[in-house]
């Protein structure tokens, strides 16, 4: 394989990987703080993309404002999801919570189809659509935005969790909720924060991604699943791990296309992501069993 082609696959993998990473980070933050797998995570991405398009195209809001508004609305939806659905279900088991978030995702998707219709939409790119040629491989400006924003956010999240009071409080909740409670950390406030952050991160992914990929009301399901795999590869431990998981997944998928032989081909690339997930889960089985908190 020529090196320029390899680089092209790498670009493609990083672009997709960044999307998966942002969704995966949302999964990770919520899971770490609350032990809930939020299956509505993909819907935040959809909301981000859809809202930014319709604010811009139908309501004439300038694009940067539309993007910021979309992220805020998604964060509010995240907060509402926690306050109205999750917090009300106090004694719910793992399964019940999973179903609540699945119910929420179906609900949000249905509302989106009703309000915005079922056609794909595409907000304009932030800065032009003409590809740049880098060492023989093409990359679109919007893809650079996407990868760049993902990396910047990763750095910010890392700093936030390790060097701010609030970040440390969240981390404390993730490590031991009851102990965190004893030192005066309000677990509920932390859970709310986690949902707001996850909503905003998903929407950031959606607004930056949709000029590149277009977006439909139903796209959250697939993206959510990939983000979930990314978070699993990262072990649901830290945002940085989830980003690495996402980028790995993106690159593995692109390479599956590149190899294009038998099971390693575009036809089976969705399965490959999940085989990677299974392999990682099983290899880590012993370690994970020790981590799992009693529900």
């Amino acid at each position: 394989m020529a090196s320029d082609q390899l680089l092209q696959y790498l670009f493609s993998g990083l672009t997709h990987g960044s999307i998966y990473a942002l969704v995966g980070v949302g999964f990770t933050i919520i899971y770490a703080v609350t032990s809930i797998i939020n299956f509505a995570q993909g819907e935040f991405v959809m909301l981000g993309g859809m809202l930014s398009f319709f604010l811009f195209a139908s309501m004439g809001v300038p694009l940067p404002m539309a993007v910021i508004l979309a992220i805020i609305v998604a964060a509010v939806v995240g907060a509402l999801l926690y306050l109205l659905a999750i917090r009300s279900a106090r004694q719910a088991s793992v399964v019940s919570l999973i179903i609540i978030t699945i119910g929420a995702s179906i609900f949000i998707r249905g509302i989106a189809a009703e309000v915005w219709g079922v056609d794909a939409v595409r907000p304009p790119a932030f800065t032009g659509t003409t590809s740049w040629l880098v060492a023989g491989a093409y990359i679109q400006p919007q893809a650079v935005w996407l990868i760049g924003i993902t990396l910047v956010l990763t750095l910010l999240l890392h700093l936030f969790f390790n060097f701010t009071m609030m970040g440390k409080a969240l981390k404390a909740c993730a490590i031991n909720r009851s102990a965190a409670g004893m030192v005066g950390i309000d677990a509920r406030a932390m859970a709310l924060t986690a949902f707001v952050m996850a909503g905003a991160l998903g929407a950031i992914g959606g607004t930056v991604m949709s000029p590149l990929t277009s977006i439909t009301y139903g796209m959250g399901a697939m993206i959510g699943l990939k983000g979930f795999v990314a978070a699993s590869i990262g072990g649901f431990k830290s945002p940085v791990a989830a980003v690495i998981g996402g980028l790995t997944l993106g690159i593995v998928e692109a390479m599956a296309v590149a190899i294009g032989w038998g099971p390693f081909s575009s036809a089976y690339k969705d399965a490959i992501a999940l085989i990677v997930l299974l392999a990682i889960l099983l290899l880590r089985a012993g370690q994970l069993a020790a981590q799992e908190r009693p529900s």
Binding site: Q8, G13, H16, A120, T129, T216, M222, S266, D270
Partner: protein, 400 residues
Amino acid sequence: MRKVLLVMLPALLALAMVIPALGCASEEMWDEESYVIGAIFSTTGAFSNLGVPERNTVMMMRDQINANGGINDRPLEIVFYNDESETSRCATLATRLIEQDKVLAIVGPSATGPTLGIKDIVTQAEIPLISCAAHKGIITPIEESYWVFKTPQNDQDAIHEIYSYLEAEGITKIALLTDTSGFGASGRGYLISEADLFGLTIVEDETFSTGDPSMEAQVTKIRGSDAQAVVSWATDKESAQVARDMKAQDMTIPLFCSHGVANRAFLESAGDAANGVMFPAGKLLVCDQLPDTDPQKEVLVTYRDAYEALHGTGSSSTFGGHAYDALMMIIMALERLGDDMDGKSLAEARQMLRDEIEKTENFAGTGGIFTMSPTDHLGMAPDPFVMIKVVEGEWTWYQY
């Protein structure tokens, strides 16, 4: 308690053996006050881009007809269901239309999977079905398709249209890029099996899933091959993405798409990457460019104007047209039958309607000109397609 149950179970089974004769449908009359037709479309889910215009079309036709006094002075009633693009749900809904709503015929479903899923149900229940899905297996083999008709052109014919153009252009090496959904996968099957007939070699055969963010990697793979053209089989959103990804990597070889892209959403989503894309489609998109002598021109322009008056300029699509053709054939059959169905049982009425649909002759619909026969339940005159090329963001009839 357990013993009682254990005794009851074999008894239950024995009863099941004896009872069936008693369970047969009694002679039921059809509702002669109005014509009740069922409609199943995928207005949400994977095939919603087909189902929504189909449902809108059928609603519009119902309102028009009832505003003009109905059929044979009786109102047309439509019972709408949404199968959510799911086969087993479609099966439940079809049974419901047959058993509870007691419809005379069913229009739809939108997609191949659901249609094949209810083929046996409608055959067993003996009720006419006119599907809006393209797969040839819907109406073949004809012995198993006595009750089933369809209006969209065969996938295979669309592929022949593209391949004969490629052959004429002297292209011999092509790359395939198809969706793993039902539509893309059955297209891929034909694309592979028909290639030899036109002297084409498939040098790359890539697929993607509905909902993938982009097809960049697959396009890169094709760029590295010596393909002279790309044939992509998918619906609007994914095809638009393929066009954009090819443009982003500065690829200059031509892109051919399926008739699945024949709607406004494709143009909007692909933007200027759509320019140069070619695909075979029904004549609806370019109906203004047809000569006045074309027998379909009048119906096409009328349908498009009526639809767009309700749903906005550029909103009409060939998919809605398939539903138009399907319902129109039923309406015409009912008109021809006149009062003949009065006093008949529901089963007899369905049989008469089926037989009358099969007598459809020279009906100029939106998809083509239909002449049904006992051996052909599509009955479309040859060359229903035109080659369409996108030029400066507009559909253009490409004559070669």
